[in-house]
Amino acid sequence: MHPALSVIFFTVTSGAGFGFLAMIGLGVPLPESGIGAFVACLIAGGLAVAGLISSTFHLGHPERAWRAFSQWRSSWLSREGVLAVFTLLVFALYAFGWVFYGVRSSALGILLFLGSVATVFATAMIYAQLKTVPSWNNTLTPVCYLLFALASGVLLAGSFGFWKEVGSISIALVALVAVGAAWVCKLLWWNSVANDTLAARGSSPDTATGLGFIGKVRLLEKPHSGENYLTKEMVHQVGRKHANKLRMISLFLGAIIPLALCLIVLVTSAPNHLLALAFVSLLAGLFVERWLFFAEAKHAVSLYY
């Protein structure tokens, strides 16, 4: 699939934003009110909103985006829109109380948490529902999205320095576990999708054309000598070497560095603020991870090209 920048940015940043919102909703310790709370809200809301705005750049007619709220009964994309707006509205109320009155309503908080998780899940389901892309059509896809969102949220929340521990467990350890769990999930996903190809699902040029009963099917001529929407959008080729290199980069930026930073915070007296750096690195790693999520995905249409 074509790795569109707008969609990569959307899934990564809105994931981080809603992950942070989920933490806020859980009521984890953060600045109590005023500027500190405002900054936290700004970052959380900003990331979520920026992601959503970015997603509209992917639309042919962004001015009609409002129409996307109508089909929540059947469409994951619609659900994502509805949930995101609902969650942001809840957050607006929540933030108002928090920033101006120092009140963090736990009822709203629970709604905010559930809304955020549901939004990220819906985002993931936009891809995970597609049978046409076996690698996305995987139960681990939403798990990865959720774990990356939560890990992003934990790092962000922790980096303010207020949230020091969960129970008796240091927040750095929590973050370490969250980031680690997300990447373990991602590794499992990579492992799972490596074998879950179109071929494994029984699709091949043979079934795509129905001509397999004659012999080996191979494209001789594309329908048009140049590119078309389908080849540009859905028939993206990434070299295996190139992909492996990018995986290493994403792991290095998204896993090794954040985990190392968490470890530093955990074992030294380095301030929790260092987790912000871990977040930035995770985000950078996730951009690469997400680029690969799209670029490596093989769409059934590629069987025709």
């Binding site: 001789l220 329908p223 048009h224 000598s225 140049g226």
Partner: protein
């Protein structure tokens, strides 16, 4: 959710008016319905083009080209104003001038050669569909130097057919789709008669009958064929003669048919070294003799009741011996030279396949005989109560003809048809009116130009023998600039347009003053050796003048050739013009239907673009004719006889009562075929859907070569003036005469240089000899064959710049057989260097396995010169597309004596495109673009970036 859920206008307005005319996106000439709808600017605009269901050619269907007509008509490459060259030739630098200035200049340029030496005008008209008019113009002007593009297209097919049986495929005949039991198609054939063949294939498929494709490349029609013969290029003749070998060995030939309709029984004089060797034995009155089977004595072939022998030896006069054609034929083809075992290696066709196909042919012809209960009377007056058919049919076109052995190969194919008894019978090949028209009913070629006078007859025709060659008094020097009808190519019935520029450049046989061309892309894909031709057009003499002094060119678009013109006359698009697809020319009839058609301006050019000021070429030609005072185009008082081409179409008479259009003649428009001119004839055509048709009577539908009813009807309809005897020439006596000329036994004697070649290639019985290019090179240097074919979506179209079609075919790879890819180390997308004896090109490659193992191929005429057709200089056509033409020379590799022959068939002069031999290696530089590249041609206009056609109607 309900059944009726949304508001949807299911009956939107389609168009304001439907205008019916004739397509010109290729040479098929289908009927089209042009839907016209008012555009944003209030002017009529083309909304949609579809096939005309009533039309005899396409019966409602329309191909990709026809459907892309909108983009052709509104192409930004259209020329809008006459242009006068201001820069050097080749650059495309012009200034716009008014028509009056353009016409004055053209008249001035044309006047001088006419008064001094009319041969100094070379008038060649490319993809002309109005040759009866342009040829007539040339005749009135007085130059023999006229032809269209047949010489580099398919003249072997036309001449091979007409010389053999008075017909040919495509325009002159077609398979009997609805009755045939077996259909066999040879070579690249997608590119002529495209819709009728597709309709026919569909019919054969629907009826569940077998289709066999013979083609090195298994695309297009060969892809749907039930059996594929992946033959090696140039070997078709050998394969066909092997089929004949097998049929003879099985005794599966139709002797009754041969006796009735062919010269199988004619006696051929056996007198080696004599002046009559190989000629038919005749009595004193000149009647051809046969041998009476009973008496063994010679008898007039026309004698009633004579039962001629097909074998034996006849002492027909004192000391004179002759043998029947059939005897010679059987001896020749039953010899081991043509056994499947001996041809399999060269042809690349397995022995099993040759034998099996011969069986299939025999079975279909003789065991699936078709009988139609339709009484008819033959020309000898014999009554037949049935029409009996041998339902085997064939088609071939450019594939087998574009070889230096193409004429004989085409003859061989027709011989096969005739031996099976399948010419113009139910289920076989069928003539299309006005055919059959054997050589005696065709015009002869005319030369002998005289200053200020018209030629005695049309420049092009069919020579009867050596006596009709157009030679100077020395008996050697050609009269024509293209050397047609000379020893180089005696039967070059369509001229040799591909030789004009190189001959004029070399001054051999002479230099010309004006080169006048129409719709002929000679500086690009219509020439062999395109780069060389470009150079010849640019070359100057020691005085700094161009070697070819003046070039007038008419085209509707900014093609590659426009850049080389001194004066450009902008033609209309096909929707803005008058045209007639005339029975005098290249007809559009179907076997059951005599038909002709018109084009008319369904939109007025002035409304079709800002400042658009164009004129149909034929109208311009008529005006130039009047300005030059040419006979037939000028009244006695010196005024113009015709206002324009439309006026000519309705009012010109070629002979009394017969004009360009056959329908709605007579003052009242009620006569057909013959009749006085009708001033309202064009309106009558428009009223009738743009065409006229008359149905062939039931009893005249088959055996037209010998059918009394057909003869009567043809005379009544003005197709011929009297009965025409049509004897199928298994053995062609004219060819024997040329052999005698080569032997020095007959006048004019062939020059020493040509003797050997004529003796070999002018076999009076169809034969096969190796293609010339392969003989001139070392096979180890160029072990492979390379071919081109035009894609169905672009065949014969002037439409390379078409915004829709260029998305389908905007670049062309070279398709290379898998085994060669592996041997040379090539993969899809690699760049390769292809070389021939003439040059090298660099191209992208694509692996393909459904192809003859020694043959690589590409789509033809996709490659464009950078900037031409007003495309972006970096267009894929220029950077990823290429022409194979750069590898093909118009001359063959030098012989040991230094003599360089034209790369053409020695009989007809047909350009031998498909003889090309190449080698391939991986290019050292694995990046584009293709090579060669040329400096960008200047655009005449900037094209729009995006198109949203039809937006105003949504």
């Amino acid at each position: 959710m309900g059944v009726h859920d949304r508001d949807l206008n299911k009956s939107p307005h389609v168009s304001d008016e439907v205008r019916k005319t004739t397509c010109y996106m290729c040479a098929c000439r289908c009927g089209i319905n042009v839907h016209i709808r008012k555009g944003e600017d209030g002017q009529p605009k083309v909304r949609y083009i579809e096939g005309n269901r009533d039309h005899p050619v396409n019966k409602g269907v329309l191909c990709a080209k026809g459907s892309a007509g909108i983009m052709q008509h509104y192409s930004p490459a259209r020329l809008n104003k006459p242009l006068l060259r201001v820069g050097e030739r080749g650059k495309g630098e012009f200034k716009e001038i008014e028509w009056e200035e353009a016409l004055q200049l053209a008249t001035k340029w044309l006047e001088k050669p006419r008064q001094e030496d009319p041969r100094k005008l070379a008038f060649f008209t490319g993809r002309d569909q109005s040759q009866s008019m342009t040829g007539w113009w040339a005749q009135q002007y007085g130059t023999p130097n006229f032809a269209a593009h047949g010489g580099f297209c398919s003249v072997n097919m036309a001449a091979g057919g007409i010389y053999t049986f008075g017909g040919a495929f495509w325009e002159f005949g077609s398979p009997d789709w609805s009755n045939t039991e077996l259909f066999m198609i040879f070579g690249v054939a997608e590119d002529h008669d495209s819709n009728p063949i597709k309709l026919g294939l569909a019919e054969v498929k629907r009826r569940g009958k077998k289709i066999i494709g013979v083609n090195p490349v298994r695309t297009g029609y060969n892809a749907v064929a039930d059996e594929w013969v992946g033959i090696t290029p140039g070997m078709d003749g050998l394969f066909i003669l092997a089929l004949i070998h097998e049929l003879l060995k099985m005794g599966k030939v139709d002797l009754d048919y041969l006796l009735r309709y062919t010269n199988a029984a004619y006696l051929v004089i056996d007198n080696p070294g004599g002046a009559d060797h190989g000629l038919f034995a005749r009595d004193k009155a000149g009647d051809i003799l046969v041998m009476d089977r009973k008496t063994g004595k010679a008898a007039k072939h026309s004698k009633k009741g004579v039962k001629p022998a097909l074998q034996g030896e006849c002492k027909y006069a004192r000391g004179k011996v002759a043998r029947p054609v059939f005897q010679l034929l059987a001896e020749k083809y039953m010899s081991d030279d043509f056994s499947p075992e001996n041809v399999t290696e060269r042809t690349g066709v397995p022995v099993s396949q040759i034998k099996r196909i011969a069986q299939d042919l025999a079975e279909a012809a003789f065991e699936k005989e078709i009988v139609i209960d339709q009484p008819w009377v033959d020309m000898k007056g014999e009554k037949h109560d049935k029409m009996i058919g041998r339902p085997v049919s064939f088609h071939a076109m450019r594939g087998i003809s574009a070889h230096s052995n193409g004429f004989q190969t085409c003859r061989a194919l027709h011989l096969l048809q005739i031996l099976l008894g399948s010419i113009d019978c139910p289920g076989g090949f069928r003539f299309k009116p006005p055919y059959p028209r054997p050589v005696p009913a065709q015009p002869k070629p005319h030369g002998f130009a005289v200053a200020g006078k018209p030629l005695a007859g049309p420049p092009l025709g069919m020579p009867r023998g050596p006596e009709d060659l157009l030679l100077e008094e020395d008996g050697v020097t050609p009269q024509r600039i293209d050397r047609a009808y000379s020893w180089d190519a005696p039967l070059s019935a369509h001229g040799m347009m591909h030789m004009v520029i190189s001959n004029a450049h070399a001054g051999d046989p002479y230099h010309v003053d004006v080169l006048f061309m129409y719709m002929a892309n000679m500086s690009w894909n219509s020439s062999m050796n395109s780069r060389g031709v470009m150079q010849m057009l640019e070359d100057k003499d020691e005085n700094g003048d161009y070697v070819i002094p003046k070039i007038i060119y008419s085209d509707a678009y900014n093609s590659e050739m426009v850049a080389y013109a001194d004066l450009v006359l902008p033609d209309t698009t096909y929707l803005e013009r008058h045209d007639c697809i005339s029975l005098l020319d290249r007809p559009i009839c179907e076997p059951d239907v005599m038909a002709d058609s018109i084009r008319w301006p369904v939109v007025d050019p002035a409304t079709q673009a800002e400042g658009r000021d164009v004129r149909g070429f034929q109208s311009v030609l008529i005006e130039l004719g009047a300005r030059l005072g040419l006979p037939g185009m000028t009244n006695e008082d010196g005024t113009a006889k015709f206002k324009d081409y439309a006026d000519y179409m309705a009012n010109h008479e070629r002979k009394p009562g017969v004009g360009p259009l056959a329908g709605f003649r007579g003052k009242d428009g009620k006569s057909h075929g013959r009749g006085e001119p009708n001033p309202n004839q064009i309106d009558a055509y428009i009223e009738n859907g743009g065409f006229f048709e008359a149905h062939v009577p039931e009893n005249a539908k088959y055996f037209k070569h010998a059918n009394q009813h057909w003869q009567d009807w043809a005379v009544e309809m003005g197709l011929q003036d009297g009965p025409v005897e049509n004897v199928f020439n298994l053995y062609h006596e004219a060819l024997a005469k040329f052999q005698l000329c080569a032997d020095g036994k007959m006048e004019p004697v062939a020059p020493e240089t040509h003797k050997e070649r004529i003796k070999t290639c002018f076999d009076p019985l169809p034969t096969w000899y190796p293609p010339f290019e392969g003989e001139g090179i070392d096979e180890a240097d160029y072990p492979y064959h390379a071919l081109t074919q035009r894609p169905a979506a672009m065949y014969h179209s002037w439409g390379s710049q078409n915004a829709w079609l260029r998305q389908i075919h905007g670049a062309n790879p070279l398709y290379v057989p898998g085994a060669i890819c592996e041997a040379v180390g090539l993969e899809d997308g690699d760049w390769a260097e292809i070389s021939s004896h003439h040059g090298a090109i660099k191209v992208p490659v694509k692996r393909m396995d459904a192809v003859n193992v020694n043959t690589m191929w590409t789509w033809n005429a996709i490659g464009k010169r950078s900037g031409a057709w007003n495309l972006d200089p970096d267009a894929p056509e220029a950077k990823k597309g290429f022409l194979l033409n750069h590898l093909i020379h118009e001359l063959l590799p030098p012989k040991s004596d230094g003599m360089r022959w034209s790369n053409s068939d020695p009989v007809t002069g047909q350009a031998a495109w498909f003889d090309l031999r190449v080698n391939i290696k991986k290019a050292s530089d694995q990046t584009g673009p293709t090579a060669p590249q040329f400096p960008a041609q200047k655009k005449t206009k900037v094209a729009p970036v995006n198109i949203e056609y039809g937006k105003e109607w949504n």
